[in-house]
Symmetry: C2
Subunit: 482 residues, 2 copies
Amino acid sequence: MDYFVSIQLDKNSKTPLYQQLGDSLYDLIEKDILKANTKLPTIRSLAKKLKVNNVTVVNAYKYLEKKGVVYAQVGSGTYVSPIPIENTPSPIPFEEKKEIKQITMTKDTINFASISPSTDLFPVESFKSIVNEILERDKGNAFSYQESQGYEKLRESIADCLKSYGIFTTEDKIQVISGAQQGIDILSKALLQYGDTLFVEKPTYHGAIAAFQSRGARIIELTLEFDGMDLEVLENYLKIYHPKFIYLMPYYQNPTGYSYSLKKKRAILDLAEKYNTYIIEDDYLSDLNYSDEKNVPLKALDHRNRVVFIKSFSKILMPGLRLAFLVVPKNLMPSILSAKQTTDITTSGFIQRAFDLYLRKGLWKNHIKDICKIYKNRYLCLTSLLDEHLKDEISYIAPNGGLSIWIKLNNSIPLDKLSDLLLSRNVIIAPGSLFFLSKESSNYIRLSFAAVNEKQIQKGILILKKAIDSLKSSSSSIQPIL
Amino acid sequence: MDYFVSIQLDKNSKTPLYQQLGDSLYDLIEKDILKANTKLPTIRSLAKKLKVNNVTVVNAYKYLEKKGVVYAQVGSGTYVSPIPIENTPSPIPFEEKKEIKQITMTKDTINFASISPSTDLFPVESFKSIVNEILERDKGNAFSYQESQGYEKLRESIADCLKSYGIFTTEDKIQVISGAQQGIDILSKALLQYGDTLFVEKPTYHGAIAAFQSRGARIIELTLEFDGMDLEVLENYLKIYHPKFIYLMPYYQNPTGYSYSLKKKRAILDLAEKYNTYIIEDDYLSDLNYSDEKNVPLKALDHRNRVVFIKSFSKILMPGLRLAFLVVPKNLMPSILSAKQTTDITTSGFIQRAFDLYLRKGLWKNHIKDICKIYKNRYLCLTSLLDEHLKDEISYIAPNGGLSIWIKLNNSIPLDKLSDLLLSRNVIIAPGSLFFLSKESSNYIRLSFAAVNEKQIQKGILILKKAIDSLKSSSSSIQPIL
């Protein structure tokens, strides 16, 4: 307790004595010599020890209390405050978010909501040997700053890989990013000023909406038909609103699974040129094609450099890599590179080097082939079960690719009740309302098969059927038929 | 050449014949059957083959030309366009950037400009064994999506590690991020609306300025004195401008190397409370302390939850990890978490898991001890050389920590000439003007010793001396003495 004797007060200083004493005590508290919740000496004993008036100590304690460093307990004395005391200053608003329920997952949960692959499909073993090869080869360089545009060799091997998608580009038009979400965020920064307008499909991916909103942009939803946006509506809107860009997913769109017809793809490119706007093409899983026809990305048709192409590896390879890339019209590259620098300087060089080797060894193409087979089987299993058990209850357009099916409920079953009922039976689905900017009711659900195997799909669809049946009968027994 | 025979035209269709023909040719081009720069058949031969008028073919070729898919070469014929043709539509503006010269580095370059450690100081071997342990232990889980706030175990071990900094917090107040730059970007999104005001030190880190500008914020620079901002100026400005936050680096500030006095730190916390604002404390290298005194971060004094603490591992460990964290007042957490989700969903779980183990094994603390010794020696070497050779030419305040020294040139030597002259002798420095928002001339340079060893420092300082001498004599011989 004799820390207090060490306190030196200078009666000739301009700083009042109480403040000198307060600061000295503050020092002892900060240096953790006086621990949290320690009782300070009584007024009288400290005053006597330091040869000052009682009032000086009283004021020193008050001074510390005002700073939040000590607290007084009536009838007991003054104590050192713990840090931090959460006394919550006024909150600062951020844009409103759609509430996504926190759901506790167990081993038995049948997860039709996730479009991320289950971990057993990750090529961990081959990636492990790649990682070690990189560490052996590059040593410390694997962990130095990477150029902001991306590791040059990776950009080369990406350009090479893109040829098989019908996209012919060079490494100077590729920007490496930490996942597709970052791509959307960076494009928002590079292309959107406060108050700018852009178009999205309706419904669409909520993460994109959130990024656009965060730039203070005006977002206009255009209804998505089974083969793309309505061209007449699009042209009318382009005339009126002059959007900075149109954000779309031409293959197995999230959440609908719809794909654009070649005719609409061409027309949209023509419209982009005519109305001087850009298209952001989010290609998150065109690789998962279960048909015999070849997919043609918009970027492969982009003769006039109107398309920014985003490709992620999260849904195909491993989401935890946080790796994706953009193919960018040359004239947009400087602003996109600036935005990347401002956002996080660079994507992990270590991961970039590993993925470069993964591409160069042909492991990427093999992996796609492998998982495409697995997902196709799940897809066929899911659709045949839907057709068998739920034919009268639902309708959907078969996507023939991707990782999910957009299902319309034919009867007016309240979706929140259906979700809750399924959840109580350990089945999770994504309600369609999640994917609309306007808070409208929806009679759609997105059923995904990324994270469920065939056994789980079978079990899950039977549970879904029962849930629909029970809600149908209960709703018909309560509501009069008009 | 007989792909053309396969073209089917329907004379009864509503689509004009030329367009049908154009679309069919377009298909052949897209499918890469007609390759880039292939010559299309002559008008007459194709018309004859397809039994249509010449005009139909002429119009089909014109239709394709308008789409950018083919190009006509006068006197020669029509050819398939390569993709992409960069015909650069009108560029979209992004905020103006300070030009940083592209400098070609060689093995012999003496780099006084970088504050990133040289790769030979990275703990690659220990990290390699950690990485393998993680892959063995967590398998596919190492690559699944991580929770947006960060891997829980890592947040626990960070909270534990922070105790030695005098910061007592819990894992629910920690947000894992992909580097300090991302921290600044995310805080900008969470706290700044378009048109909001904030304060920064003058001079300061240009990456922070760029992130704030990208939010459309009004940035006010407050001159940094050797012991922190001027409190009177700060209070006056707080009264007038009501900033959303004050961004500062209390230890070994970038670029000045200055550190805040305890008195000023306390006063700034009091002012933040009084004027209801926040402080963003960017702690990028308080660990590199070459004095005997203990550093006390602002966050350790933050009894009223006014401080958001950013800590990066880039400068201490390996920049390529892209890993850092925030300690956040509880009430700000929801908006910061939202902003993180919008920005890139989550930081690589693989890297988070590896770094968690690195912390738990005590390797982090050992590494700091090791590199602190190395950097201290470089620091002592650099300062003693400056004192020996450049005493009359420069002045500086010894930072006693960090990775750089902020040097004022006593004579009015044109800095651009000095930089160029040094560059021609293979020495790079960071001119002070880089760190001011206002484009003012500056007679400061930042000399960093992160990426140079003692031998390079010795050589570099002698070159610097010669360069200053030669510019001094040349300027005095040209300019008349007034």
